[in-house]
């Protein structure tokens, strides 16, 4: 085979070029920490990366949604507990009123129940983040309105029903409110309180039926409280699920996207050695001609 200076120079340049090309690629991988920097680095992986990134950002949004839902439900649970406590206090008052009380003292109990009524209406009109939590989907209007003469509590004319659902996972939504109709049987509880107050004020002793109905109202509201509690529990479970999912997604993303630093460095080292060898050989062979040996 005839080998000329041009052959030697060309093949040297070609191999050095290829080597440098690989080194640049590895350098980019190491500098960015990413194996896929352009879609052409690995088209399939690029598609997966985009999909995983979108799933990750959805996951983060779901976690935020669940967080919001948890705050609302904690608020709801707390409000229902306080409401149940109001009813509990009312039952004690009624018990005390029916046992050994002068008819003349009933007015004091009536006043106490009137203030409990205020408390109950306030609780039912609890706002969280500027929104009425018992208003159903009518979140911007107070769900329960006390008449100015305090003779009645009426629901908001816009309504107090409607369930609110948050998206909490892929294709899954969770109801995150208990509307006023469901929580307090509409205005039935308030009307019963008003009836009791007016009866006491007019000197009537509370009946056994009234006492029993307060007990059943208490149980009812307590039941709604535990419904809120069970929603909270499922939200907690969702949160855990989302956190686990996030870790998994991040792991998958890393597999597709991240450079294996150790491997890249090893490859870089290898290419460095090859480059060194090529340069070294070339520096020995390229300058040699017959001229060196002719006098």
């Amino acid at each position: 085979m005839r080998v000329t200076e041009t052959n030697i120079a060309d093949s040297f340049l070609n191999s050095v070029n290829k080597n440098r090309e690989r080194i640049v690629q590895l350098q980019t991988q190491l500098a960015t920490g990413k194996r896929v920097n352009k879609s052409s680095d690995d088209p399939q992986a690029a598609e997966s990366i985009l999909r995983l990134k979108s799933m990750l950002s959805l996951n983060e949004q779901y976690q935020k949604n669940v967080g919001d839902a948890q705050s609302v439900m904690e608020m709801t649970e707390g409000a229902l507990d306080s409401f149940a406590n109001v009813l509990l206090e009312m039952r004690e008052l009624v018990t005390r009123a029916s046992n050994g009380t002068h008819a003349g003292e009933l007015g004091i109990y009536a006043d106490r129940i009137d203030s409990l009524l205020d408390e109950a209406v306030n609780i039912a009109n609890t706002k969280f983040g500027g929104k009425y939590i018992f208003g159903g989907t009518q979140t911007l209007d107070a769900p329960f309105i006390m008449a100015s003469d305090r003779s009645a509590v009426t629901p908001s004319p816009k309504g107090i029903t409607g369930s609110i659902q948050f998206p909490v996972s892929e294709g899954l939504s969770q109801v995150v409110n208990i509307d006023g109709q469901e929580a307090f049987q509409g205005t039935a509880i308030f009307q019963a309180m008003i009836q009791l107050r007016d009866d006491l004020r007019s000197g009537q002793f509370p009946t056994v039926a009234q006492k029993d109905s307060i007990s059943s109202m208490y149980d009812y509201v307590l039941g709604k409280g535990s419904k809120a509690g069970s929603i909270l529990q499922s939200l907690d479970a969702l949160n855990t699920h989302l956190t686990v999912q996030k870790t998994q997604l991040e792991g998958l993303l890393s597999i597709q996207q991240d450079a294996d630093v150790a491997e890249s460095i090893m490859k870089l080292k290898h290419d460095e050695i090859m480059l060194d060898a090529a340069l070294n050989t070339a520096s020995r062979i390229l300058p040699k001609t017959l001229l060196d040996y002719l006098r």
Binding site: M1, D10, K38, S40, K53, S54, L58, L140, L290
Partner: protein, 455 residues
């Protein structure tokens, strides 16, 4: 009848022959690194012997022919490899620009803007009453439309710039064919007087090679050494002259036509072919896909949005969220932009109802594209992957052709390139022969002296 003067004549021819050899060697050394140069060789032959009694007597050496050492077959192979390489490398370089414009996977691409847009609607579903979440929807919606617009715009610009690129390449082709035609005339007229113009042939081959990178050529040579270059059946250069080409833009397609004839010249490969394929097929296809994404998004979001209700409005607003129909024209409806309450989050008008916002957020994973088989995001991700794959295939082809080309060039260099060692050896050979011939002259001189001294 050979006399002493015949010896002198033989020596003279020897001196001339060796000098010619040294001359050629010197020419080779001088052009050792000239691109396209093939080493030349003097073919020395023994000149016609004189018949004498008892046989023939030699009459010395003759320089029969000075020619270049070249393999025509490798040249052909290199040219055909060259046009494939030109095609793939042109596509690769343009597609890499497309890739840089699309800029995926990243946090600033259209994919992320799409995600953020749908997330903003999900956030609106959680807080339908708050103006902050409504503003976020507008902000992300506007960002998304800007992304669509700027991506479409830069792709359009890239495509427009390709016309200039193709024009420049055609200018280069026209220049080369003109030079080729001129060279051809010179070569044929040199051949007519019996000489072999190696250097002219070298530069003609070099021009042919440059031309073959730009466009797929077919070269035929006649017995007089004249060549005819044709592209897609049209002769563009011959001894008769060159045919100038130009770009013709018809609607959204470009074609190469003869400058005078106006008839199309088919150039399916080479750098020109590659650039034209991208202009005529690839980029329009990419942009159509982008438009498809925009159109689907616009129509689905608008359908849901116009059926929903704004904040504080019990009747459906009937307002579209987006205006426009394509990636270029997509924009957020100005009536929505001017009043955040006009964003429809509610299905029944209740401020806490978030059904419409949730439905719009769910569009992200709704199977709306490709015959309702994949979602908008999946379609977009697939699009990004397609671009990457096209680049990979162009890169693969161009690397493979480069390798083939390197190997063939290596082969050609083995045959044609100058080896300094070889030339040095030849130089010494010619020098020794020259020395010896000079010695013959000196000896003949002595002989003459001897004869003249005879008395």
């Amino acid at each position: 009848m050979a006399g002493i003067s015949t010896i002198l004549e033989v020596a003279r021819r020897a001196l001339m022959g060796q000098r010619l050899g040294m001359n050629t060697t010197s020419h080779n050394i001088a052009n050792a690194s000239t691109p396209g140069f093939s080493r030349q060789r003097v073919d020395l032959v023994a000149s016609m012997p004189l018949p004498v009694q008892g046989g023939y007597i030699g009459t010395g050496v003759l320089a029969d022919h000075i020619g270049r050492i070249r393999e025509r077959f490798i040249d052909q192979q290199i040219r055909s490899s060259n046009d494939l390489l030109g095609d793939a490398s042109a596509q690769y370089s343009i597609l890499s620009q497309v890739e840089a414009l699309v800029n995926e996977p990243s946090d600033v691409g259209l994919g992320n803007a799409l995600n953020e847009f749908f997330l903003a609607f999900q956030n609106l579903a959680v807080r339908p009453e708050e103006s902050s979440s409504r503003n976020a929807v507008l902000q992300q919606g506007t960002l998304l439309t800007q992304k669509f617009y700027s991506l479409n715009n830069s792709l359009t610009q890239l495509r427009d710039n390709l016309i200039d690129d193709v024009k420049l390449k055609i200018q280069k082709v026209n220049q080369l064919t003109k030079e080729l035609s001129d060279l051809d005339i010179m070569i044929v007229s040199a051949a007519a007087v019996g000489s072999d113009p190696s250097d002219l042939k070298d530069s003609r081959d070099l021009k042919l090679e440059e031309l073959s990178r730009l466009v797929n050529t077919k070269v035929s040579e006649d017995e007089r050494g004249s060549i005819m270059v044709s592209v897609g059946g049209t002769v563009i250069s011959s001894r008769g002259g060159a045919v100038a080409l130009r770009v013709q833009v018809t609607g959204s397609q470009i074609a190469i036509v003869g400058d005078i004839s106006g008839s199309e010249v088919r150039a399916p490969s080479g750098e020109l072919g590659g650039a034209m394929k991208i202009y005529n097929t690839t980029l329009p296809d990419y942009m159509a896909k982008l438009d498809q994404i925009a159109a689907t998004l616009i129509s689905r979001v608008n359908t849901l949005h116009s059926g929903g209700r704004g904040l504080g409005s019990p009747a459906p607003t009937g307002l579209n969220f987006f205006t426009g129909t394509t990636a270029q024209s997509i924009a957020v409806n100005s009536s929505v932009l001017s009043n955040t309450d006009n964003i429809a989050a509610s299905a029944d008008g209740a401020p806490g109802n978030n059904q419409t916002a949730m439905a719009i957020a769910a569009v992200q994973n709704e199977k709306l594209m490709s015959g309702n088989s994949i979602s908008i995001s999946q379609f977009y991700n697939g699009w990004v992957s397609t671009i990457g794959a096209s680049i990979n295939s162009a890169e693969g082809t161009s690397k493979a052709q480069e390798l083939v080309l390197q190997q063939m060039e290596n082969q050609r260099n083995q045959v044609s390139s100058v080896s300094l060692d070889e030339e040095m050896v030849n130089l010494m050979k010619y020098q020794r022969a020259f020395d010896a011939a000079a010695r013959v002259v000196a000896t003949v001189d002595d002989l003459f002296q001897t004869i003249l001294d005879m008395r």
